[in-house]
């Protein structure tokens, strides 16, 4: 294989793997703030227990996010040197800002948050939880702003040596694309976090391990997941879709599997792209729907792939098409499941509905898949460009790094991350098992004192 192909596989693999962790930590962070707030507001120590329980899961996940995140920044230089030389003058800004504004914040307060409850006292500990939330979401902003510039370059000029340089800081940081992408992406992380909380609640109820806490987790998790899932469709998903229609119409055509331009185009629910015949096989379509949601007119003209030159088409249309459809399909299921669960919560039958507990418990991996598919849509949709309309992916790799060396490191990452996966799963299962015991120990005692669990005596 060519070095370029291996560079792409390595980046795709390491970023996909990495993002499994931050989406959970970014999703859990606001929920931990909710737990902490409830504990202080209602003066109910059980919520503090819940916060501590999830903080431990947050801590392990955060660690995995950190260690798998460092390779991302490095790879810009190691594997994508030509791209870095070209665009570093612009995206170096946002990446450096992430380090300066977000990483220092997160890394300092994670220690305080995890180990400092006793030393800080309740109010400061609450504040450290809020700052962790702010830090992780700020980190998200800078990464999204970086990616948004690659999707929709603004505020730059091309200079004599053919590299791009920044001309407007605020255009870069407040890129319109970044705004909509951020709304959608952070909503996705929130869905992952709330599904995890709800799923664990369902597990504790089903296994009769920790019924009281199970119900608490379900209340918070289901409410949050219901709001989050709706948010993903409307308004954030809708806005994101219109951004793509406006700025990357060829990507929209490929995502939707629209091979030919149409007046009054429909939305495809199911169907398999046939690239040779340039058509969808076995298509089930809602007529005129695509025209309407894109342009708010039932008979609007939507450009298909045939309206664009071949060398502008995303280089893997079927994968892009499936990624998008998997994301949307799962998103629809999330709304259905969590709407029903929230209804049950309101009417009071949720905790007795075993079948619903099973569904909630088993659906915890789905948001991870949906978020991954969403990012694949975004990144495959940008192809064949690294910087949309400016710089092609094929020109971005490091010129002097041979394919043999990239294969060596790719295999190394595969091995390393396999071990990390086993460790993570092992530790999570243990935490769920142990966490239940810790929680029950507390509720038996009745009134635990603050910070007792954390015998971090110095």
């Amino acid at each position: 294989m060519e070095a370029l192909t291996l560079d792409r596989i390595q980046f795709a693999f390491t970023i996909t793997y990495h993002y499994l962790f931050p989406q959970l930590t970014m999703g859990l962070a606001p929920l931990i703030v909710v737990f902490k707030t409830l504990a202080i507001w209602k003066k109910d120590e059980r919520w503090n227990e819940a916060a501590r329980f999830w903080a431990k899961i947050f801590g392990i996940t955060f660690l995995f996010g950190v260690v798998t995140g460092i390779p991302m920044e490095f790879q810009f230089g190691t594997n994508w040197a030509a791209f870095s030389k070209y665009a570093g003058g612009v995206i170096g800004q946002t990446l450096a800002m992430e380090g300066t504004f977000a990483f220092f914040l997160e890394s300092s307060f994670i220690g305080l948050f995890l180990f400092g409850e006793k030393r800080l006292g309740q109010k400061l500990h609450w504040l450290s939880a809020v700052l962790i939330f702010v830090g992780t979401w700020l980190s998200g902003w800078f990464i999204i702003a970086t990616n948004a510039w690659m999707q929709h370059p603004v505020g730059y000029e091309t200079v004599a040596d053919k590299s791009v340089q920044l001309t407007s800081f605020w255009s870069l940081v407040l890129n319109e694309w970044a705004f909509y992408q951020y709304l959608h992406n952070m909503g996705g992380a929130f869905v992952t976090g709330s599904f995890a909380v709800a799923a664990l609640g369902a597990f504790y109820l089903l296994s009769r391990k920790q019924v009281e806490f199970g119900k608490m987790f379900l209340k918070v998790g289901v409410s949050a997941a219901c709001l989050g899932s709706i948010w993903m469709l409307f308004p954030s998903g809708d806005l994101q879709g219109r951004m793509i229609a406006k700025n990357q119409p060829v990507t929209l055509a490929a995502m939707e599997g629209l091979f030919h331009s149409e007046q009054g185009a429909g939305i495809v629910l199911i169907g398999q792209p046939d690239m040779e015949k340039q058509q969808l096989d076995n298509a089930i379509t809602i007529p005129n729907a695509l025209s309407f949601i894109t342009y708010q007119r039932w008979d609007a003209h939507v450009k298909g792939l045939d309206a664009f030159p071949m060398d502008q088409h995303p280089d893997n249309v079927p994968l892009l098409y499936y990624s998008f459809h998997i994301m949307v399909g799962l998103g629809t299921i999330f709304i259905a499941v969590m709407f029903l669960a929230a209804f049950g919560l309101w009417r009071g039958w949720l905790f007795n509905a075993n079948w619903m507990m099973w569904i909630i418990m088993l659906s915890f991996p789905l948001p991870f898949i949906a978020n991954t598919a969403g990012w694949m849509t975004s990144e495959l949709g940008r192809q064949p460009w690294l910087v949309y309309g400016l710089f092609r992916t094929e020109h971005g790799a490091s010129p002097m790094v041979s394919s043999g060396n990239v294969l060596f490191t790719l295999l190394g990452f595969l091995g390393m991350y396999t071990v990390l996966s086993l460790l993570y799963i092992f530790l999570m299962l243990r935490r769920i098992e142990h966490g239940a015991d810790e929680l029950s120990a507390t509720s038996l005692i009745g009134e635990p004192d603050l910070g007792d669990r954390e015998s971090a005596a110095y």
């Binding site: 392990i60 040197a81 570093g88 990446l95 300092s108 180990f115």
Partner: protein, 343 residues
């Protein structure tokens, strides 16, 4: 403007080496200072609330380098492809060693992560030292401003060079010993009783090796290539840097003997800082010297555009002041001796 950013990157790198240096050093000294499982837990507890923040200096330095000198970031990171990816793996291993050890109450689990933590720290020290050695020695940049080095060739500093040659291996060993002394100083500050005594002893013994290696490496640098000391010849004031290196070495020994651990730790921090400043002074205005001097990457030919650098200075100044505030708060909250396990 380029000069300002050159020094900002240098200062950030120094912060990284001084701060994460003691984490790495604690890892190297792990088995020497911590003889029992309980004691080794204390070693980990001494660094566990701060190591992550310290490591962020590496990321922030990398990010700043990328932002201010994109062409250098591209050339350097792709040229040092193999050692950098190996460093990434070692950083992963080190982090898991520190953070996963306490997750299970099982002696085999503890032994395993102790070993991972110590070995990865040790190798990190050597790799970082060797990397700096490569920058000082110079790399085979081509006309397009790229290069690639295998891990080793014939261990000579001329011809087809590798990442490891006699000079960069020497740099690696200097880093290993320097960080060991630094980490042992940190552990002396954070521990009591026998562990404190062992840490002090390690500083005392390590100091002799450090003095010998420092002299050896200075001689080696002076003879490495022509013109390497030209900044020192042209600006005699710069000789204060080697004097400061000697001064900090004396300080380490003096305060170590006196039993003033904090002052000795300041001494080893100053030693690391001045050694780096010494190297940086020799390089300036080169940032990655080439074997063929005409191809060297300087701060001028690798910097980002003037507007970007200017606007960066504004947010960077704000950001770094806030970040220093965090660090003061963090280190104050966890100040004092580690009396018991944190976990």
């Amino acid at each position: 403007m380029e000069t300002i950013w050159f020094w900002i990157v240098a200062v950030m790198l120094t912060c990284y080496v001084v701060l994460d240096g003691f984490d790495i050093g604690a890892g190297i000294a792990h088995y020497f200072v911590g003889r029992t499982a309980k004691e080794r837990e204390t070693v980990i507890s001494a660094i566990s609330p701060v190591w992550d923040g310290n490591e962020v200096w590496l990321l922030a330095t990398g990010g700043t380098l990328y932002f201010a000198f994109p062409a250098l970031y591209a050339a350097g990171f792709s040229g040092f492809y193999l050692p950098l990816i190996i460093v990434l793996w070692l950083l992963i291993l080190r982090a898991t060693g520190i953070e996963l050890r306490h997750q299970l109450d099982n002696s085999m689990w503890h032994s395993f992560w102790d070993f991972v933590f110590c070995l990865s720290s040790l190798l990190l020290a050597i790799f970082f030292g060797a990397a700096l050695g490569n920058v000082v020695r110079g790399v085979p940049l081509n006309a397009d401003g790229y290069f690639f080095e295998p891990l080793w060739t014939d261990f000579r500093t001329t011809g087809t060079t590798g990442i490891l040659d006699w000079f960069t291996v020497l740099s690696g060993v200097v880093a290993l010993v320097a960080l060991t002394v630094h980490g042992a100083n940190y552990l002396a500050v954070k521990t009591e009783g026998e562990m404190n005594a062992r840490s002090r002893k390690l500083v005392g013994v390590g100091w002799y090796a450090l003095v010998g290696l420092t002299i050896l490496s200075l001689i080696a640098v002076a003879n490495l290539r022509d013109g390497i000391l030209s900044n020192y010849r042209n600006y005699p004031i710069t000789w204060l840097v080697p004097v400061a290196v000697i001064g900090s070495l004396v300080a380490i020994k003096y305060f170590n003997v006196k039993g003033k651990d904090k002052a000795a730790f300041m001494g080893s921090s100053a030693y690391l800082a001045f050694m780096l400043v010494g190297a940086v002074v020799a390089l300036f205005p080169n940032i990655l010297p080439a074997i063929d001097p005409a191809r060297s990457l300087t701060i001028y030919n690798s910097a980002a555009g003037a507007y970007g650098l200017g606007v960066g200075l504004i947010w960077w100044s704000i950001g770094i002041v806030i970040a220093l505030g965090y660090f003061v708060f963090l280190f104050r909250t966890f100040r004092g001796k580690v009396k018991e396990s944190l976990h």
